[in-house]
């Protein structure tokens, strides 16, 4: 990575480094922001992680952090005791999260130029912790996709190989961290949309338990599946971000009223050898799945031995119903999406078709002209699955299959604290490779989908570079409901053992 951004290289700095550097006077928040903005100018024309930059909000936030340092000194206080936990940390938000002062497009033409009039709770909490919003990140339209190619505003490219996808749907959020443009970003995960791009870009990516983080202010996709979570270069960065965004929210009745533990401390325990005795289950039947690349399988098997060497009790387990996950998900996800997207009617916001003959024509043309092909496909699929005569055969069966998957996890967590699977069947694929093959694209979420259906938590942590492709491979560490502490502790111990270098050399 070039050193053209001057003294500060964000690709080597964690959130904790930045806060400490600012508190100790080593650099200012303004200088950290400059480094982020310089890096974006350097690489984003090629990577296209961002749909929108927010320099005014960023300068205001960085200025507030620097002013807080000055006033701490004036009051004779140590800025370490007064700064927010993410003070001065440059961050990106997936562009399906509303923040006043930005546009929120969800990667969709129908929301082009949509002005946010309220704040997404999770995003607001991240910024209230002192983080500096640098911009809004690219995504597949309405988060429908696994490559970011479905964005109405052009694809994001993988910083490891610009001919390849970064995954999706939170591809811009993943790429922005991978390329060293920001230090932390937020994404949303309905069937793998945080973990899959995390794996493909060599970043750490966490999907919290359903309800752990408020969904208020996000453009809804699948309301029983969606969850917001962070990307970082390190497990600790993800823990710090989760600490900031987790907890109940009166604006989301499904947010969980569970106490928020000290996630950062859980990561600290890992450093002190904290996985001794941890019961780690390798999901063996999911390693026999057709389409799993040999280079991915061998790194997951190596990961299991790493846990053994660290003193964990490693055993084998099966999730026999997981094979029905994809089918259940491609009924439930589109069904919920078709219902959520009914709000795009050309009346209250969004694109409106010209010269409508009547109100029905206005609805029908605004939607058909405003939605991209994958959105139309999912809305059609969901509407069909919910329509009279097919509801029981599809939606009803899918909801029952969901119960089987929950039972599998529940049985597995009686014997194990965490489960290991690949995050994705392969490393990053080429742009265009799967764009005419919706089913092939859907298969890239095979390993991540069951966790959304059950609603528990999982992290993707880099396991190394594939021996055939030389591209990052993600290990998925799955935990029980509200077991983020355990998952983060396991991920941190693994991270320390494998010493993955998360910095791609951007080529092309």
């Amino acid at each position: 990575m070039s050193g053209a951004s001057g003294a500060i290289d964000l690709s080597t700095l964690t959130a904790a480094h930045i806060r400490e550097g600012i508190a100790s006077g080593q650099f200012s928040a303004r200088e950290v922001l400059d480094a982020a903005q310089t890096r974006i100018v350097e690489v984003d024309e090629r990577v296209h992680a961002f749909l929108q930059l927010t320099p005014e909000l960023a300068e205001e936030a960085a200025g507030a952090v620097d002013a807080a340092v000055a006033s701490a000194h004036q009051a004779g206080l140590d800025p370490r005791d007064t700064l927010g936990p993410l003070a001065g940390v440059p961050v990106g938000l997936k562009d399906n999260m509303n923040i006043v002062g930005t546009n929120t497009t969800a990667g969709a033409k129908i929301l082009e130029n949509h002005v946010s009039v309220y704040d997404c709770t999770a995003a607001r909490r991240l910024l209230d912790a002192g983080a500096v919003l640098v911009g809004k990140c690219n995504l597949d339209e309405f988060a429908f996709g696994s490559s970011t190619e479905n964005s109405a505003f052009g694809p994001t490219r993988n910083p490891w190989d610009l001919e390849r996808v970064p995954g999706g749907s939170s591809g811009g959020s993943a790429a922005s961290v991978s390329a060293g443009e920001v230090v932390i970003s937020l994404g949303s995960d309905t069937g793998g949309s945080i973990r899959q791009p995390g794996a493909l870009t060599g970043t750490v990516a966490l999907k919290p338990t359903y309800g752990r983080v408020s969904r208020y202010g996000i453009v809804a996709f699948g309301s029983s599946l969606d969850q917001i979570g962070p990307f970082g270069k390190t497990v600790e960065d993800c823990a710090m971000a989760l600490q900031a965004i987790a907890g109940p929210d009166p604006m989301d009745a499904t947010s969980a009223v569970e106490p928020v533990p000290d996630y950062v401390a859980a990561v600290g325990q890992a450093a002190a050898g904290g996985v001794k005795g941890l019961r780690v289950g390798v999901v063996t039947d999911l390693l026999e799945v057709e389409g799993l690349a040999g280079e991915v399988r061998s790194l997951v098997e190596r990961a299991a031995s790493v846990f053994g060497e660290l003193g964990a009790q490693v055993g084998e387990v099966e999730l026999p119903s997981a094979e029905h996950g994809l089918s259940a998900y491609y009924i439930i996800g589109p069904a919920e999406a078709s219902s959520n997207l009914a709000r795009f009617d050309g009346i209250r916001y969004g694109y409106r078709a010209h010269n409508p003959a009547d109100v029905l024509d206005l609805y029908m043309r605004s939607r058909a002209e405003g939605f991209g092909p994958e959105t139309i496909r999912r809305v059609m699929l969901g509407t069909y699955a919910l329509s009279a005569g097919y509801y029981d055969a599809y939606y009803g069966q899918a909801q029952k299959a969901r119960t089987l998957i929950k039972r599998d996890f529940s049985a597995a967590f009686e014997r194990f604290d965490v489960l290991l699977t690949p995050t994705t069947p392969t490393t990053a694929f080429k742009i265009g490779e799967k764009s005419d093959d919706p089913l092939g694209m859907y298969l890239s979420d095979y390993y991540t989908i069951p966790v959304n259906l059950a609603g528990n938590c999982a992290i993707s942590v880099p396991a190394g570079l594939g021996s055939d492709t030389g591209l990052p491979v993600g290990l998925q560490i799955i935990g029980d409901y509200f077991a983020e502490e355990t998952v983060l502790r396991a991920a941190a111990a693994f991270e320390a053992a494998v010493e993955f270098d998360s910095r791609p050399r951007i080529r092309g």
Partner: protein, 101 residues
């Protein structure tokens, strides 16, 4: 269970999507290919299995019935394609000169 062109048109109407003939044909193919894969779910014997609508056993949440500030009218209309006099503008749907829909 193959889906016919007529069914595609019916679903498009339910979904309020004005699709072209070309789109109807293309989406019909896509849906059949996807349904061909997910149809395996219909073969599962799931009699007696309780459906899961929601991952957590949540209960209804209520709050005190108090007046609180909400979105201002100005903000609510900020993104409207057409607004007038503090209201959203839509094509006429009732009264003389309105259509039959």
């Amino acid at each position: 269970m193959a889906i016919s062109e007529e069914q595609v048109r019916h679903v498009a109407l339910l979904a309020r999507l004005a699709l072209s003939d070309e789109q109807v044909a293309h989406i019909g193919e896509d849906l059949n290919s996807i349904l061909g894969h997910i149809d395996t779910i219909q073969q599962l014997d799931l009699d007696g299995v309780e459906p899961t609508a929601h991952p957590l056993d949540v209960v209804n949440v209520t709050r005190a019935d108090e007046v609180r500030p909400g979105l201002s009218r100005e903000d609510a209309l900020k993104n409207a394609p057409e607004a007038d006099n503090g209201a959203f503008v839509i094509p006429q749907i009732v009264g003389p000169g309105g259509d039959e829909a």
